[in-house]
């Protein structure tokens, strides 16, 4: 590996990790050392006080569990719909309506979420679906546009000949998708699932608006409640950010194995 490449990789890493280092250090500092000047890169003592406060006073464990439930269920549900729809769209034959559908899917991403909130909330309020984790999962799960668009673009690169062979053998389209296409597009599936999960895990605005009862809250809502009129409680917030990063980092860590694995075996033979 050339030294040029090493240098570039180092800079990427430094750039990415710098803020994380800051968050972690802040979470381990004594509260009086957070607001000092000059900056303390290496605090005089490290303590887990912030984490203790996070889990006992702020009852972070409950929110963590809620978020895991919501994100996992919504991401899995959305993924299934997205893969099927993406495949269907990729193999769709009518050019003009295909473009229209695609544009329609992109359209859902054009709508600023903040604007959508008002009619969406009114609608859900009338259906008495507010303040329920189930409703939140359903609403999250319905955001299938991103996954569908991405699946379509990944499936576009997989030759039709692959599933044609399976279809000749007697599978229907869904079976062909499951048995033939998916194993080959594992990197794409894992990538999309990761992004869906992270997106729901970090979603703040919808969660705040829909959820009311304390025990229903999710992680981003809990983190945001450390910001009040009297400023940001950096000690608990940084501890919360570190804990909130763990599932997603683990997911990316496991996921990237699947994403990269394809290289050694999965070159698609035409």
């Amino acid at each position: 590996m050339g030294s040029g490449k090493v240098l570039i990789l180092f800079f990427y890493l430094a750039f990415a990790v710098m803020p994380l280092y800051w968050i972690i250090i802040t979470s381990l500092k004594d509260i009086k050392e957070i607001y000092t000047f000059p900056l303390l890169y290496f605090p005089s003592q490290l303590g887990l006080e912030s984490y203790r406060k996070l889990f006992s006073f702020a009852k972070f464990g409950i929110y963590f569990r809620n978020s895991l439930l919501v994100s996992a269920l919504a991401a899995t549900g959305a993924l299934i719909v997205c893969l099927i729809s993406g495949f269907g769209l990729s193999r769709y034959r009518l050019k003009r309506s295909k473009k229209a559908i695609l544009l329609g899917l992109y359209f859902t991403q054009m709508v600023p979420g903040f604007l959508l909130m008002i009619p969406l909330f009114t609608m859900l309020s009338r259906l008495r679906l507010t303040d329920s984790l189930g409703a939140l999962i359903a609403v999250y799960g319905m955001t299938v546009a991103f996954g569908t668009i991405m699946s379509k673009s990944f499936f576009d690169r997989i030759p039709v000949s692959l599933e044609e062979a399976a279809l000749i053998d007697g599978c229907n389209t869904l079976q062909a998708l499951y048995h033939v296409i998916l194993p080959v597009s594992l990197p794409a599936v894992v990538a999309i699932l990761s992004f869906e999960f992270v997106g729901f895990w970090n979603e703040l605005f919808l969660a705040v608006m829909l959820l009311s009862t304390d025990t229903n809250m999710t992680v981003p809502v809990a983190l945001n409640s450390f910001i009040s009129k009297s400023g940001v409680e950096w000690d608990v917030l940084s501890a919360g950010l570190v804990v909130a990063l763990l599932p997603t980092m683990i997911l990316f860590a496991i996921g990237q194995k699947f994403i990269i694995a394809g290289l050694t075996e999965g070159s698609v033979k035409g």
């Binding site: 607001y35 000092t36 008495r128 703040l204 809502v221 945001n224 009040s228 009129k229 009297s230």
Partner: protein
């Protein structure tokens, strides 16, 4: 096609289950929903304690405390109350109460307050606050945010300063005197971003002799303050303060940054609300600072905004009497004093200031002075009734920043602001 039906049925089934999952209201049990607006973790814990006490005394009432994060609380309040979500007690801010009253969303509390014995110990200011809109009581004020001057006694001592500024001019001079940019020492913990008008306008207007208490942007003769001959001079003094006693980055200082500048000693003079006391105690400790009343202007007076939050009952609530029972408990002198001690801002009952040493001595003495010396400290209101008020924060912020950066002159700024409020 079969698949479509399956999916649609599934969706409908899920939604049906969710709808059925709503608990049925039992015959006698009453469930109240309380929505906070000035959410903070410590305060929510306190509210829940009071709720526990209340529920113990009223076994058939349960209260669900809804605590959206502070940044989104106003938006959530708006959405819920306009969609007529079940709410029985809501916390309202003085800055936005007007629109709720306009749309008939709040219950008139005059008759209830009239029959409430504890109302007798309310400050006259509290009655003004309660009757903020249309001179009718739509809410029960809970606390006040009133500005005062925080000073880092230890830092100032080290810099050889032992005087307390009592006028704005003295404050400006002191800030400039102690500023040494090379040593990273500045004077004033400036507020440049995030509703800076709530600080800057009072500092500038202190020099005008006749600001109208009903509308801080007009003088008692009906003219706009921006057209007063003194305004531009005071604005220039304020700009001068920024240029000589504040680091250039100060233009982007929000609440966190200005308090951090104070806590780290970089800027030992800070104008802030009483709930900052609890925060600064945690960061540096009570022994390192003190609070003094707001400096006076050339006029020998200074003007103070009395920001407040209070509890109100939505007009469509079905449990108004039960809600009122809780509100009476929460607003009683004892609970109110406890709330303010934990959360920081100023209590609403005169008796608290007289009998509770916490609020009449130490750092809180500054506010006691401000509340009780009406010839020097005049309480004024923002024109929250005006339809252009909601947009003022952004307009003032951006044009003040332009003025501080020298992109427009003070005269141009004053003309622009006058044009906005005409």
């Amino acid at each position: 096609m079969k698949r479509v039906c399956a999916v649609v049925s599934f969706v409908i089934l899920v939604m049906g289950c969710l709808a059925l999952a709503q608990p049925c209201a039992a015959a006698e049990a009453v469930k109240l929903n309380l929505l906070e607006r000035y959410t903070s973790p410590e305060r929510t814990a306190f509210i829940k304690d009071v709720v526990k006490t209340f529920e113990a005394a009223h076994p058939n009432i349960t209260i669900n405390v809804i605590s959206p994060p502070f940044d989104q609380a106003e938006a959530k309040l708006n959405m819920m109350i306009n969609a007529k979500e079940p709410l029985d007690i809501v916390e309202i801010s003085n800055l936005t109460i007007k629109q709720f009253v306009n749309n008939g969303l709040l219950e008139n509390l005059e008759s209830r307050i009239a029959s409430w014995p504890d109302a007798k110990s309310w400050l006259p200011l509290t009655f003004s606050a309660a009757r903020f809109v249309d001179n009718t009581a739509y809410l029960m004020p809970e606390f006040y945010f009133i500005k005062a001057l925080f000073m880092r006694t230890d830092v100032l001592k080290k810099l050889g300063v032992d005087t307390v500024p009592t006028t704005m001019q003295q404050l400006y001079d002191l800030s400039k005197k102690i500023t040494k940019p090379a040593a990273n020492q500045y004077g004033f913990a400036f507020r440049g971003k995030g509703n800076p008008y709530r600080t800057s306008d009072y500092m500038i207007l202190a020099d005008l002799p006749n600001v109208d208490p009903k509308n801080v942007y007009r003088t008692t003769d009906g003219k706009l303050v921006f057209e007063h001959s003194q305004f531009v001079k005071s604005l220039k003094a304020y700009i001068e303060l920024f240029k000589t006693a504040v680091p250039p980055d100060g233009i982007n200082w929000g609440f966190s940054e200005q308090v951090n500048a104070f806590a780290s000693g970089v800027a030992p003079l800070l104008i802030q609300d009483p709930d900052t006391v609890a925060l600064v105690d945690r960061q540096i400790g009570r022994d390192k600072y003190t609070v003094v009343p707001m400096p006076l202007g050339i006029s020998g007076k200074t003007y103070l905004d009395y920001g407040f939050g209070g509890l109100a009952i939505p007009s469509y609530s079905t449990n108004k009497d039960a809600a009122w029972e809780f509100m009476k408990l929460f607003s009683a002198p004892k609970q109110n004093a406890e709330l303010c001690k934990k959360y920081g801002p100023l209590p609403t009952h005169a008796v608290t200031y007289k009998e509770d040493p916490y609020f009449s001595t130490g750092v809180y003495k500054a506010w006691a002075v401000e509340m009780n010396t009406p010839d020097k400290y005049t309480f004024v209101r923002f024109p929250t009734d005006s339809p252009v008020f909601p947009g003022w924060a952004q307009v003032q912020q951006q044009s003040m920043q332009a003025t501080l950066l020298g992109q427009i002159t003070a005269e141009e700024a004053a003309a622009k602001w006058a044009g906005y409020w005409k």
